[in-house]
């Protein structure tokens, strides 16, 4: 049996289980929600918290399964279907998914979308790409800051820009941000833990989706947070409307 068939079988089973898991999970969450169950005692509150943690663990597992596919791009393409998606719907999804984490850091996500256009791409990989970008933004953004998300429609593409606050990345380091294991010196001195894989994986997914990805650290408008220089960190994505396979 070839490796290709094995991956196909794994994904067939995984996607069934994944859907079953999510349906059951949402059903339990719904039954225990404040709206249906009421505030409940401390035990119920603890269960709600643990359910949210379980969801995060599952989502992380799901992300790593997809990212592990990137070792073989051909295999990644074969095991995923291209479909239409709308960027605002995907931003809404990630806002919901990371709602609690954003609330803990009092981070707001503000959006400014151009006219709605559908993009034809590998939907699950696009979601993983956004996951990684927003996880990176959340990690480095100071408390009570804002993540700005905007789109501008072009002839055959959409420019998606995600701007958040982060430690100033020197211009000499910008090009290396998507290098495996690389961390900018400011990121290291900010004491935020990391291994330099997040933006590297962003770049790999972007390559798979024919998306041009660029990073910009706007060091003109600097400010200090706990003695570390911060500025706007911008991820710019040029997303083709049609994926050229």
């Amino acid at each position: 049996m070839s490796n290709q068939v094995e991956w196909a079988q794994i994904f067939e089973r995984y996607r069934h289980l994944s859907r079953d898991f999510q349906q059951k999970f949402q059903s339990i969450q719904g039954r225990l929600s404040v709206e249906k169950y009421g505030a409940g005692d401390q035990a119920i509150k603890n269960v709600r918290g643990e359910l949210e943690e379980l969801d995060e663990i599952f989502q992380d597992f799901n992300s790593w399964l997809y990212i592990s596919l990137l070792e073989d791009l051909n295999e990644a393409k074969k095991n995923n279907a291209v479909g239409l998606l709308e960027i605002p719907s995907k931003i809404k999804r990630i806002k919901m998914k990371m709602k609690n984490k954003f609330e803990v850091k009092r981070i707001k996500v503000e959006t400014d979308f151009d006219t709605l256009l559908a993009v034809s791409t590998y939907i699950t990989f696009f979601e993983q790409l956004l996951n990684l970008i927003f996880q990176n933004s959340l990690k480095y953004s100071p408390v009570s800051s804002i993540i700005n998300v905007s789109t501008i429609n072009k002839n055959d593409s959409i420019i998606l820009e995600i701007s958040s606050s982060g430690p100033v990345v020197e211009s000499t380091e910008i090009k290396s941000l998507a290098t495996k294991g690389f961390r900018a010196s400011a990121a290291i001195s900010s004491n935020v833990p990391g291994e330099g894989y997040g933006l590297y994986n962003c770049k790999r997914i972007a390559n798979l989706l024919n998306i041009e990805i660029n990073f910009k650290s706007d060091s003109v408008s600097k400010y200090n947070v706990n003695g570390i220089a911060y500025c706007d960190f911008i991820v710019n994505l040029k997303i083709p409307l049609e994926l050229n396979r």
């Binding site: 991956w7 095991n79 479909g83 239409l84 709308e86």
Partner: protein
């Protein structure tokens, strides 16, 4: 009397103009011709739970789920392996794993889709799967079957609906309808000249509908009757020589009426 003259005039106009106009250029809002929302008849062949039945039904579509492609309710039917007749449906969703195993061991859903395609050359067939790689030949990477779309099992509801709406356009927009029909005729190996004749028949009927709808006070019901009658009179015998296709091809523009639901 006056109406009859006008109908004949527009029929002649649409016939003449169909020679110079491409379906892409016809600007027509098909929805405007219907009082009720457009709905489709959908068949699902899936051995596990198809998660979007309620979603589709909430949009007014009717959904019939079949656990397998062949009737297996009795011993005799299992022995004869008689396939369900899905010709009255507009869209067919087909799982790849776990269906058609009795008739097509090894290829399962791929075999089902190949058979469906042969029996229903002008139907929309969508593979609904957790393993899109199964649709490809592991050696060559080429598609093993001609599906119109592939829906991944773990897509969210927004993605499912967006992609389903794209399929709906095949029933509502002349441009998308013709693109679909053309691809099916190419797949059936029809010559360019025959496809061109079918294109003219299609364009003529869509134009006829447009003229009647936009330039007359004839009621929607009457327009529908006139168009259906007109389509029956379109001679596409020269255009289509595949027996299974001929009946459907005559109804090319009727398809714009969401024909299965309308009839």
């Amino acid at each position: 009397m006056w109406d009859k003259i006008r109908i004949n005039y527009y029929k002649l106009m649409s016939s003449l103009r169909s020679k110079a106009i491409y379906p892409d250029d016809i600007d027509i809002d098909i929805q405007a011709f219907f009082a009720k929302p457009s709905t489709l008849k959908i068949a699902v062949i899936d051995d596990s739970d198809f998660p979007w039945v309620q979603t589709l039904e909430s949009k007014g579509h009717s959904v019939n789920v079949f656990r397998d492609y062949h009737k297996t309710s009795t011993k005799a039917s299992r022995k004869r392996l008689q396939a369900y007749d899905l010709s009255s449906f507009d869209v067919i969703f087909c799982d790849i794993e776990g269906v058609g195993a009795l008739a097509y061991p090894g290829s399962e859903g791929i075999g089902v889709i190949q058979d469906l395609r042969e029996r229903n050359p002008l139907h929309i067939i969508v593979a609904f799967t957790g393993s899109p790689a199964r649709l490809l030949d592991p050696k060559t990477g080429k598609n093993l079957t001609a599906v119109d779309s592939v829906f991944q099992r773990d897509w969210g509801v927004d993605d499912f609906l967006l992609n389903f709406n794209s399929i709906m356009k095949i029933f509502l927009e002349p441009k998308e309808r013709w693109k679909f029909i053309r691809s099916r005729l190419v797949h059936l190996d029809l010559s360019e000249s025959k496809i061109m004749t079918a294109q003219r028949a299609f364009t003529q009927n869509v134009l006829f509908l447009k003229y009647l709808g936009e330039s007359t006070n004839i009621s929607k019901n009457s327009i529908q009757k006139i168009i259906l009658k007109s389509e029956k009179n379109v001679d596409v015998r020269g255009a289509v020589d595949v027996a299974a296709l001929s009946v459907k091809a005559i109804n090319i523009a009727s398809s714009l009426f969401i024909f299965n639901s309308f009839k």
